[in-house]
Symmetry: C2
Subunit: 292 residues, 2 copies
């Protein structure tokens, strides 16, 4: 997996505003929040989806920018989630959270600016040579981030504190909170190549939905079974905050079975594509079998 | 000015997610932050720029969506600016600020979601029938909102507390903080019609820069001369927070002269367009001569 991650890291370093440009402190904090950490799952999905189908697939220079845009959105959501008025966490990716290292006002603006930067990146002329597809990509990203996507999932998450949720309710929350951006990663990567028809895009979206949910289920399992040092973020936080998780709702054993079922579903969706999609399959495995 | 404002209000009511749709509380708070208040200067500028040139100008249905997108960005910036970690204000548009009426976490997500919604609106298929122009519009908006635009201006504003600024430094701050979005409003409106050439777009941008600065100068003057009841927001706040303003740097009399000079500059830029732009001229007058 190292190739895409190294490429993404280098591209982010280049595409984020330099800390030497005013406003320096804001740019320094944006770079702190985005660079040097994270599994880069979303860029991996962008590349895997862009490379599906017959070789050579989408131009890596395009996929790189899309992957960076998704990482900007992901990093913004983490910076805002860690703020005292939200999850109030001080540790992220093994480092002090952005508002701890800088200050709350700066962290707020970091998130706001990273969201704008993501849209700026997707509107870059290098992303696509069909502007109609590019507008579609921008719309997919905007819907995925908004009140009926990621931010809405976060709102449902906040409202769920102390509640007993059913499995469908928990699923609804995570399909929005984590799933929306993961689906957007696959959708944007797939649209960067012209290899896929409408039916295939739909089946890929089902793959992404399974992978997004599996990601969250495994997160909940790891939160129960791992240490803060391994994960680089505070473990047991959801339980301490009285938030429902797959483990609290299903129990550890059934949560693991669910993750395995979702992995199988994801592979079936890929098989139905009737085209090479090896890396997407590998990613489904990685997401479910990971230990961090 | 009533026509555009009423039209914008109705369109916002239609384009914002219903408070009956989940997550209800977030949608209710988004509507609270956007609807029923504000001068709607940015939609007015969108319409005036879109109607410049020979009749009939851009389709009002397009301008309406663009105006709403700019109001979503503007409202998001106000909601985040009012948060305790930023300006810590409790009053906005004559009502309790969003985080007071709801809570801080909800206000944070309201701002985040409104930013996404703005990009969703500008990527709407009704905005433009030339997708290349639409991608350009999305990029203009993203740059205007980001760390080298509005959010960056806010960061400079935060850093200026207790500082003595020169007039050029103050101008630099406001060109970003307020000016960036006002310029985007004019740029998007102008691109919604196909009446303007590249040279004219550049001269219109100079108009927008003057009007944006004038807006801030007049804001500072009104903040000194008006009451909280008239403005619907806390007056004298910048002075109390030890923030530099045009009045504190130039004095009241010279600030008024500057606003008048900027108004004249704006009119000269319009004259150089060599095409009808009556409403843009009226707006420059309104912005400088307003009493609220």
């Amino acid at each position: 997996m190292g190739r895409v991650q190294a490429r993404t890291e280098a591209a982010l370093d280049r595409l984020l505003p330099s800390a030497a440009i005013a406003p320096q402190r804001l740019h320094e904090a944006m770079r702190y929040a985005v660079l040097g950490g994270g599994k880069r799952i979303r860029p991996l999905l962008v590349f895997a989806a862009g490379e599906a189908g017959a070789a050579p697939g989408a131009d890596p220079a395009r996929l790189e920018i899309l992957g960076c845009a998704l990482e900007c959105i992901h990093a913004y959501s983490l910076v805002h989630d860690d703020l005292p008025c939200m999850d109030d966490d001080v540790l992220r990716r093994g480092k002090p959270a952005c508002h701890v290292e800088f200050d709350e006002a700066t962290a707020l603006l970091v998130g706001d600016s990273l969201q704008s930067l993501a849209f700026q990146l997707v509107s870059d002329h290098r992303v696509c040579n069909d502007p109609a597809v590019q507008v579609e990509m921008l719309k997919i990203l905007a819907v995925a981030c908004g009140s009926r996507g990621m931010a809405g999932g976060q709102a449902i998450d906040l409202a769920s504190v102390g509640q007993t949720l059913t499995v469908p309710e928990l699923e609804y929350m995570h399909i929005h909170k984590t799933g929306a951006l993961i689906r957007a990663a696959v959708a944007l990567g797939a649209r960067a190549s012209s290899a896929l028809g409408a039916g295939q895009l739909e089946r890929l979206d089902h793959y992404a939905k399974c992978v997004g949910l599996a990601f969250q289920v495994v997160d909940d399992v790891l939160d129960q079974e791992s240490s803060t040092a391994t994960l680089g973020k505070t473990v047991g936080k959801d339980a301490a905050n009285n938030k429902p998780t797959y483990v609290s709702v299903l129990g550890l054993a059934r949560a693991k079975v669910l993750a395995e079922e979702l992995r199988k579903d994801a592979h079936e969706a890929l098989a139905s594509l009737a085209m090479p999609a090896q890396r997407l399959g590998d990613l489904a495995d990685f997401i479910v079998l990971r230990k961090f």
